[in-house]
Assembly symmetry: C2
Homo-oligomer: 233 residues x 2
Amino acid sequence: MAGIRLPLGREDFAAALGACSEKYWDKHPYHDRLHSGGLDDAELRRWIANRWYYQKRLPQKDAAIIANCPEADVRRRWLQRIVYQDGTRAGDGGLEAWLALATAAGMSRSEVLDERYVVGGARLATDAYVSFALTRPWTEAVAASLTELFSPALMSTRLSALRDHYPWIDSSGHAYFIKRIGAATKDAAHAREVVLTHCTTRDQQDAALDALTFKCDLLWSMLDAIEHAGPVG
Amino acid sequence: MAGIRLPLGREDFAAALGACSEKYWDKHPYHDRLHSGGLDDAELRRWIANRWYYQKRLPQKDAAIIANCPEADVRRRWLQRIVYQDGTRAGDGGLEAWLALATAAGMSRSEVLDERYVVGGARLATDAYVSFALTRPWTEAVAASLTELFSPALMSTRLSALRDHYPWIDSSGHAYFIKRIGAATKDAAHAREVVLTHCTTRDQQDAALDALTFKCDLLWSMLDAIEHAGPVG
């Protein structure tokens, strides 16, 4: 029987996915500083401007998953993620809400959109995620999205931090997180179900766990790059 | 000035795109036979079952274009193509309408969905289109879609042919073409505008024309493969 590796049972596989939270970027020192009020204005703006590059690429990452997905029901549900970020018309959607955070933090739209503050490592990590979704099996890219299992708690912490420690940011900038906490919870529950259902061999389960680790690593490296860059402006 | 190639003016570029109609598959001998009533029942079913493979891959092709497109306004409009084919719920949308054509022509859903009649050349040509959209600049993939400038006329001919020459196909099977003629006209007008706007250098214009030629060639080869295959069942 050597060499035969049985698939994990559903609950064990779900637990293994959940255990990847150990590598999630909620424990990164830069997040600690952000959430304890330790960032100065310029650092907070740098974080917002760099995260913009990640946010703006999310619809393309999600479209890459749909492009590789032969399951119409999964495509239909996943399409809602693109609509969520791009909106149904100009001036609508999650990307606009992120730009509202940027302007509430004192930046102009144009200095965010021209990406002058985006550091190489943040761009590299983001582009690696989109490339992963374009080139790897769609189930692995869905597994990579499962950092959203861990993000609602982090966003709740962040929302409190913005209110408590950064009152100079107008509350109109909080909308992205207020709306996203609930949406991410639903999106993650769907994605988790897709992974549990479609990754049925041990090799597929291992690939899904590797994908989620890869995603945690790339998010972590994005914050490393932001942390090590010089101050904005 | 040797080596400098000025871009075509907008009207000349539009005319060059339109001239690709010379290579469009409306002139393929198999379409001639289809539209003049020359196919027997088995041949018509074979055509429907092979085209199913092409139809079912369209949402993935369109998602690949969105995955590579950095323009939110283009993504928003292009998303409508995915919704058109996949529908907003199971049992809805263009793909379902194509399956309705298959059942109206006397096939079961399962014998279409299991792709038993799909010939290698039709699969190859279709997959080449999806790969093109995944790997080439999004403007080229949009240009490749411009065969839809030529398809409404072909679909009108086909609709008449179905009514006149193939009355054994229940009219419930005609819905795909009835709806698609108007939708393709609008989609093609949008795609043409995107290409005219975003392909501004002569190299980009040439690449767009090459992409449209590539698409015409792959459609043609799909019909070659269907024609040269043996009869169904």
